[in-house]
Subunit: 114 residues, 2 copies
């Protein structure tokens, strides 16, 4: 870095009271992000690179990072740091309490109906 100032790269997670349906629908409307969410639900929690592979997304790391950001800022993903990795997981309880049935519906829909 040129300047001596550190860039923190802090992860922004909206509080549960800030979750909005329109944001969540917009985040889930992308096929790649929908696949990411569904894969994450199967695998439990997972680091970024692993999740991208498991979801079968053939996109660059920077693009996946962008999608992860959209899902996180919509309140769908939780990101925590473990060493050099970012561990992703679903905010199941928050989503269920605010929009009951939404996540279950998305996860239980057969692959063919996606």
């Amino acid at each position: 870095m040129i300047e001596g100032v550190s860039v923190l790269m802090e992860q922004v997670h909206p509080p549960v009271t800030d979750l909005r349906l329109s944001k969540i629908l917009a985040a889930l409307a992308d096929p790649g992000r929908l696949a990411t969410v569904r894969t994450l639900a199967q695998k439990g929690e997972s680091p970024c690179t692993r999740l991208q592979q498991d979801a079968g997304l053939q996109i660059s790391r920077s693009t996946f990072s962008h999608h992860q950001k959209v899902l996180r800022e919509a309140g769908i993903l939780l990101v925590r740091v473990r060493g050099a990795e970012r561990i992703l997981s679903l905010r199941r309880d928050d989503l269920d309490s605010r929009f009951p049935g939404l996540l279950d519906l998305v996860l239980n829909t057969p692959e063919k109906l996606i």
Copy 2:
């Protein structure tokens, strides 16, 4: 029209077996379209102009026509012709049978959480 060929303007309605979650989520992700669906559920069936007014959408007729098309092609709306009007209604049964709980969730979500 310049040519003598008639333009039919037929309404395309996908059969229930063609409905796809990603299409439906994408259609509902737009705030104006979401408002349209929620208003239509309250009012029952309604012609275009009336629905646009009831939903409070301050957009041109051509733009509303575009949104109506997106909702129709996603399988959310049914359009039937009555004289010079197009009467819009929700495909409740089709949506419920294919994606149980989705429409209810969208309709029951409080305005403040949209």
